[in-house]
Amino acid sequence: METSQKTWRHSPGWRFTVMTAKFFSVTLLSGAMFLPFIWMVCTAFKSSGEVESPHFWPHIAKPENFGIVLRMVKEQFSGKFLDVFLWKWIFNSLFVASWVTTLQVLTSSLAAYAFSRIRWPGRDKCFLVYLATMMIPGMVLTIPQYQIMVELELVNTYRGLIVPAAFSAFGTFMLRQFMLSIPSSYDEAAEIDGANHLQIYLDVILPLAKPGIVTLAIFTFLGNYRQLLWPLIMIKDARLRTVPIGMLTFQGQYGSDTELLMAATMICIVPLIVLFIFLQKRLVRGIHLGGGVKE
């Protein structure tokens, strides 16, 4: 009995059955996970009268919904343009997130270099203080940070969104771990050739740390693009809103117009999906815990 079971388990028939079952289950599961998105796309094309019907497929497609949320077509009942600026919001988000990513990579990699490639008294203790602050919840910092921004008169500006996010203990930590795994023979060789630290940083370490830097850049960009709390506190001006805040106000004003809300939501998800298609391989192939140059 046991031997026959064992051979069955190794037979091609068993492997085929297992593989088929696997394919069916993950296909069904991915389909189920996509259900909300499919529903969103279908609802975005419905007319306001049809939103209440449980069908997915709109009987009469109404692509004007997209024109309305993009302010190209006037809203039917009020005869006015909606109070939404999706393009501007998307631009603001991309603008702020790009600046934050650039600055954070710059400051973090410089600091990580000092923590990993230069020997100086008190280095490791200083680094521990950095690490410890990562445990403090963001909420503790938000209130005083806001007070500081009020004092610096940066409330309601792009700079108010960019400056506090340009420094990160997490980024420093991540890049330091990455740089530690780069063999020290590289910079020793450069030092013998008479390179100073700035040259070593620019010409040796930065190119070698590129995978780590790219990962940090992705994390930073996404995290910033999604951020809700900080822009919500900082931005009062409708034209300076980022996508999350813009969508929030749009929901507050037009929350009852489900089809318009879904059309706008769809437009806001599209940049993320485009970004995802570009980064898909890097993200899905594997994120390495702690980072490191794989030999």
Partner: protein, 374 residues
């Protein structure tokens, strides 16, 4: 390298290091270290943005008020209640990772492409017939499944990893707004599906009111009045289900895939020789081998969970109904930025920090004891 003694050399390096550190250090002092001290100080004052209130040192009064405030305990309970979703997310991620760790590629690319093409053709025919026959919804949903199946056959597990990762990647305000509509009790997707299920089974059942209901699955517990709200699916479950949807195929799944593919193959072979089936291998090899990853994920999830719930509350419910979806994070926001009681809000933030610190410590001790096979 240098002829200077190491001590002198290190001191010389200090200046260089400071130059490298300066940009980050200035930001760190202004936006992290400074605010930490400032908020600790604020939590002992009656700091209030209303001009009529004069700033005073009030010692521990905020903390005493806080601990005797029943709402604080209610919001703490909510925070922990939401965290009950974490085990489901982590377990789901692990199971998915276990399914998707292999490449799932059968035969040659040419062979796979042929079969995938066949699936597409069959799909086009069936869906076209269904569509023409009037069942447009069935055609649409089947088309999605056929598409996923064909792509899955062609590119293997990469397809599914990508598909399952999208909800987590696209998560943000837009996705949460999408879910707010999904939970609309009258025309949302969730209740449509439940109603459809009822119709198929031929039963009459009541539909949950989701985001406007105070019920909860722990509603039967003999808790004080405020906590007690009846048994059923309510706003808290709605948010938990959405959280699981967002988290299950995200970074945790990717981390688990990396961890499982790093397990040496001879461990699985040894288990097979000992007669373990795929379930046995999962329990006796995979589970203990990925324990460090589980440990890391749990710590991050607990830290995130205690600070979490702000986005959901702000976008979906405004903390309601009756405060059932208000977490500590949202409470800090309302107390600070809506009621302008910054001193009090800071003290809540510091109590939250104590909880995070304590739980991380417990995790650390317990986790490190469990993971000692190396």
């Amino acid at each position: 390298m240098s002829l200077l003694p190491s001590d002198q050399r290190e001191r010389k390096n200090l200046a260089v290091a400071l130059a490298f550190l300066a940009p980050n250090l200035i930001g760190f002092l202004c936006f992290t270290a400074g605010p930490v001290l400032l908020s600790l100080y604020m939590s002992f004052t009656n700091w209030n943005l209303k001009p009529a209130v004069k700033l005073e040192w009030i010692g521990l009064r905020n903390y005493v008020d806080l601990l005797s405030d029943p709402y604080f305990w209610f919001y703490l309970y909510n925070t922990f209640y939401f965290m009950l979703g974490i085990p489901f997310t982590v377990a789901g991620s692990l199971l998915l990772a276990n399914l998707l760790v292999g490449r799932m590629l059968v035969g040659t690319f040419k062979g796979r492409a042929t079969y995938a093409g066949l699936i597409v053709i069959v799909g086009l025919i069936t869906c076209g017939m269904l569509f023409a026959g009037g069942s447009k919804d069935a055609a649409l949903l089947l088309a999605v499944l056929y598409g996923a199946g064909a792509a899955g056959l062609l590119w293997g597990s990469m397809t599914y990893r990508t598909l399952l990762y999208v909800p987590s990647f696209a998560s943000g305000v837009a996705t949460i707004i999408l879910w707010t509509q999904v939970y609309n009790p009258y025309h949302g997707l969730a209740n449509n599906l439940i109603q459809w299920f009822y119709d198929v089974c031929g039963v009459e059942g009541s539909l949950p009111m989701w985001l406007i209901s105070t019920k909860s699955l722990l509603g039967f517990l003999p808790l004080p009045d405020m906590f007690h709200s009846g048994f059923g699916l309510g706003a808290r479950e709605a948010i938990m289900i959405m959280g699981i949807w967002m988290g299950i195929g995200g970074n945790n799944m990717i981390l688990y895939i990396a961890a499982i593919s790093n397990i040496p193959n001879d461990l699985f072979e040894a288990a097979e020789i000992d007669g373990a089936g795929s379930f046995g291998k999962f329990i006796h090899v995979t589970l203990p081998q990925v324990a460090p990853t589980t440990f890391f994920i749990t710590i991050m999830a607990v830290i995130g969970g205690l600070q979490g719930g702000f986005n959901f509350a702000k976008i979906m419910t405004n903390g309601g109904p009756a405060g059932t979806t208000t977490t500590l994070a949202y409470y800090i926001y309302t107390a600070g930025f809506e009621e302008l009681r910054f001193g009090y809000a800071s003290s809540v933030a510091w109590v939250m920090f104590v909880f995070i610190f304590g739980l991380t410590l417990v995790n650390w001790k317990y986790g490190n004891r469990r993971i000692n096979f190396e």
